[in-house]
């Protein structure tokens, strides 16, 4: 399911399947996309931030068109205990790899991989901070 912002319209709540993973997409060329994501985060229930949220920064191939401070995005990831992935959608190879990563994360969040749950993402992030 793709939405341009949150909250999702309430009319379709009863038809909507369970949400296992939220990927917030930030376009490095658009300050607006970052502000939009920041505003939408307020509508996400706290339980999602236990490994079911991730930030995907796109357009990183074009450093010269950068409108966003990447430190701010990394801080956002730290604040919300969620991983930040960087990718370039215009390159097919990277697009495919990124999609595979997201699907893998989704499988874990949906509980399809025995022995690993979404909470693993949170503890992985904590470990890198302690180093």
């Amino acid at each position: 399911h793709i939405a341009t912002s949150l909250p999702l319209p309430s009319e379709r709540d009863h038809l909507r399947p369970r949400i296992d993973l939220i990927v917030f997409m930030i376009d490095i060329k658009s300050k607006y996309s970052l502000r939009n994501v920041e505003a939408s985060l307020a509508y996400v229930d706290a339980s999602f931030f236990l490994g079911k949220v991730c930030f995907l920064v796109t357009g990183v191939g074009r450093v010269n068109a950068c409108s966003i401070d990447t430190n701010a995005v990394c801080k956002l990831g730290e604040t919300y205990c969620s991983p930040v992935l960087f990718c370039e959608l215009e390159l097919e190879g990277i697009r495919v790899v990124t999609a595979q990563r997201l699907v893998r994360m989704l499988q874990i969040c949906a509980g399809h991989i025995p022995g690993v749950s979404a909470l693993s993402f949170v503890s992985l992030m904590r470990n890198s901070d302690d180093d």
């Binding site: 060329k29 658009s30 300050k31 996309s33 010269n64 950068c66 409108s67 966003i68 401070d69 430190n71």
Partner: protein
């Protein structure tokens, strides 16, 4: 600012194309006259090869290479180096004036981040600015690359860096009446390209920056963000357009103007050092 305005007058009000340059190996300041001779011979040889600027016209290019001690920031900065190409007029050596056709200068203003870490024998002048035909730029660049084993790259300016520039320069105190602060945005993904020009009265822009900046002399990313967000919000209130989703391509203030393709015009000598310091920093981060 102890910069001699006469010596630096040639910098003002010209559109300079920006490059980053890696450190020059075994550049000797005592040999500037030699370098001028060698570069002149190189250009003459290139023209003989058929790469002449104007075909069929006998042109004699005179090269001067000089040092500009005024354009430095810290004690570690090397003095700037200016290269000028002039057309020698006429076949005889009559005293009619030579016509300046191309200028380029290397400089470093507070480029300590780079110069601290290079071995001896290397001269750090990371910022290169050119004005004149691209063919001359290419010849001068080739000669420097071959002679000093350095590497030139065009310096593009991202929208993020342009927003730093407009925030800092709009906040500069100027004696005379200043021109408007202008931001030009390009709107992506339309069938017809659309440019939006947003002009702000310089006093309003300065007043806004003064309320945002907490410590005089210091600028943070948060302060630049607040400044830009105010401008975006104001525009959205009136026109219902989110400029933050468009690409900032050019900014213009009374101090200087800058285009994302790496073209800068310095309009006021008072803040020359500050402008060059910012550009040096961009050049150094492109090199590293």
């Amino acid at each position: 600012e102890n910069v001699d305005p006469q010596k630096t007058a040639f910098l003002l009000r010209k559109a300079w194309t920006l490059y980053s340059v890696t450190p020059l190996y075994r550049f000797r300041r005592a040999r500037l006259r030699d370098y001028a001779r060698l570069l002149s011979a190189f250009i003459a040889a290139e023209k003989q090869k058929g790469l002449a600027v104007e075909v069929g016209v006998e042109l004699d290019i005179k090269v001067t290479v000089s040092s500009l001690a005024d354009l430095v920031g810290s004690e570690q900065d090397q003095a700037a180096v200016l290269v000028q190409l002039s057309l020698r007029s006429g076949a005889s050596s009559r005293n009619s004036e030579d016509k300046l056709v191309w200028s380029g200068w290397f400089c470093s203003v507070y480029g300590d981040d780079l110069s601290e870490n290079v071995p001896e024998d290397f001269t750090c002048l990371p910022l290169f600015l050119t004005h004149g035909a691209e063919s001359y730029t290419s010849m001068v660049g080739s000669w420097f690359q071959k002679t000093f084993d350095c590497c030139f790259r065009r310096l593009a300016i991202s929208p993020l860096n342009l927003s730093w520039m407009v925030a800092m320069w709009a906040g500069c105190q100027l004696d005379r009446a200043a021109s408007a602060v202008e931001l030009v945005f390009s709107v992506p993904r339309l069938s017809q390209p659309l440019d939006i020009s947003y002009a702000i009265h310089p006093e309003d822009a300065k007043a806004l920056w003064d309320t945002v900046q907490k410590t005089p002399g210091e600028v943070t990313q948060e302060e630049v963000d607040v400044f830009m967000d105010c401008l975006y919000a104001h525009f959205h209130r009136h026109f219902k357009i989110h400029l933050s989703a468009a690409k900032l391509v050019k900014i213009s203030t009374a101090v200087a103007s800058a285009h994302c393709d790496g073209i800068v015009k310095i309009l006021h000598s008072q803040y020359l050092s500050g402008v060059l310091m910012l550009l040096t920093e961009l050049a150094v981060s492109q090199i590293q």
